[in-house]
Subunit: 353 residues, 2 copies
Amino acid sequence: MLIRFMKNNLIRPSIVKMLAYTPGEQPRIPGLIKLNTNETPYPPSPKVARAIRRILNGSLRLYPDPVCLNLRAAIAKRYGFKIDEVFCGNGSDEILGACFRAFVDGGQVVQFPFPTYSLYPVLSKIHHARIREIPCGKDFSLALAQFDPRATLTFVANPNSPTGTLLSNAFLRKLARRLKGVLVIDEAYVDFAKSHALPLVRTEKNVIVTRTSSKSFALAGLRVGYAIGNRELIGALFKIKDSYNLDRLAQAAGQAAIEDIAYHRRLIKKVNRTREWCRRELIKRGWHTPPSEGNFLFTRPARHPAKKWLDILRKNKILIRWFEHPQIRDWLRISIGSDAEMRQLLKIVDKSN
Amino acid sequence: MLIRFMKNNLIRPSIVKMLAYTPGEQPRIPGLIKLNTNETPYPPSPKVARAIRRILNGSLRLYPDPVCLNLRAAIAKRYGFKIDEVFCGNGSDEILGACFRAFVDGGQVVQFPFPTYSLYPVLSKIHHARIREIPCGKDFSLALAQFDPRATLTFVANPNSPTGTLLSNAFLRKLARRLKGVLVIDEAYVDFAKSHALPLVRTEKNVIVTRTSSKSFALAGLRVGYAIGNRELIGALFKIKDSYNLDRLAQAAGQAAIEDIAYHRRLIKKVNRTREWCRRELIKRGWHTPPSEGNFLFTRPARHPAKKWLDILRKNKILIRWFEHPQIRDWLRISIGSDAEMRQLLKIVDKSN
């Protein structure tokens, strides 16, 4: 961050103490291969640009639809839900924050596994929740009994980042039924996985599934997230949202991307194929690389410590992600880029492996 | 809203009780004259579309700059501040919410005048603040002594909506010095006014000025708000913001709009000229219409009650805004449209006046 924070009685003490969430770097070095923030190497559907161009001819001066009807209708149609079971947000990050404002009073328990998306603890602190971190096993597995049934809000990223692991719907259903509070299943990466939890929304009244167009729809540059859940929960999110939380271009782009099913499927297939090939190549090189259900691999490298590999790759203009925490500091998260980008990665690996 | 809210112990009791903020209608009737949400009748700078088109050729798949450096640099340059005195948000609405998360713990006093922007009480309820509403005088004036010095957060929309009144910088400076907490001066409409409060940011450590590109920059369809304040306060907003709160297109569009100073000035001049002409015309017709410093007029109509005029105009495909509250139910807020739109309004008025 740019700014140092001093004691200041204008600012909430809990915020003064807090460290900001650190997103993966977004540097602007030409020729850089960015495998650090799980973006997609391919562009979005060409229908996205067309939809945006249409709006440029006139309506930018007008407020967007405050309730995103067309976009929600497209999502509802594609996944077989009713429009009032769908909420849209400025990225799924906004939806995660909205879940706190709708469901959590200060002092209540919010739980999530570790390691996982590092925004959950940041949001928990902002909203004065009591954080309960559930440590994953050595193989990044979780047991039902680890979850506190009384938690007001439970987050499970599925597939999980950075580990790439997927919980079964049978597990998630048991978890939902164990919990008194709301279960948010954060499916940012689910389109790259072999199953998804939307069927649970139909049977479990306390489940919200969140998704994003940043990964499999190749729209990280826009911010289009959505949530699917029963209408009571979705209705609460509507109550506390900003009046115009999603701009015209994002709504139109999101809709175009969601509706282009053929393009979406092709893109996912391509990324997954590259992931599987790349996984085999890393394993050949002695890197411990469990299966991943996301558009990234989580791998324990050979020969050098993970941090050293981070530096080696960075020197060669390849950015990947490393997390400074005892449980995962031996691991690297590598986003799946194009085949050429992954070949370049393997080439650099081979030089120092 | 689409959804009825039932008792549900998954949702915070305060949210269950709450009514959602109701934005002005955004209907899609062809030929409608929209004078109800203070949009601008003219398109944004042509440089906006150009900036957006450039991004369509490639980088939508990549995350935006999380800290909006180029946009903030443009704002800092235009208004003579340092880049770390500038924060950008997904509309100034997001910034207003961020002020709660950064400065207000539950149970603290948040104050604002009445009538004013109806989002302040909504946000106050979401964040468990104790609301202190400061009633305006009959002429919509405010006295310094009405403000509670101990309030944690004070909002003053300046110019105020729906009244169009402007507080002087001398008043605001005294107010800032009276207050122990943070003073947010919401300048959504200030570009149409004869003064602005940015000079106060330089001398008062507890002042944040918020602005939007929705009005004078004709970018309501995007969501680009910004805040200028001392770096301690701005730094706190950065800590609690979503990691990528402003998308690529919004950042580029906002920057292009801010940098096209000549276009911006022309647009403001045009709107203000129409406003003054329209005000004289309404006064001629016996409508009590005080001066306004926004891109709207607040007027007490002749002959029929305000609500009746709302219906008459709606029947004639003109939307304006009426607020159901005893103190202002005799008034109408009319956004300044194009000359042709205002002529049409006056024509309908003449038929029933």
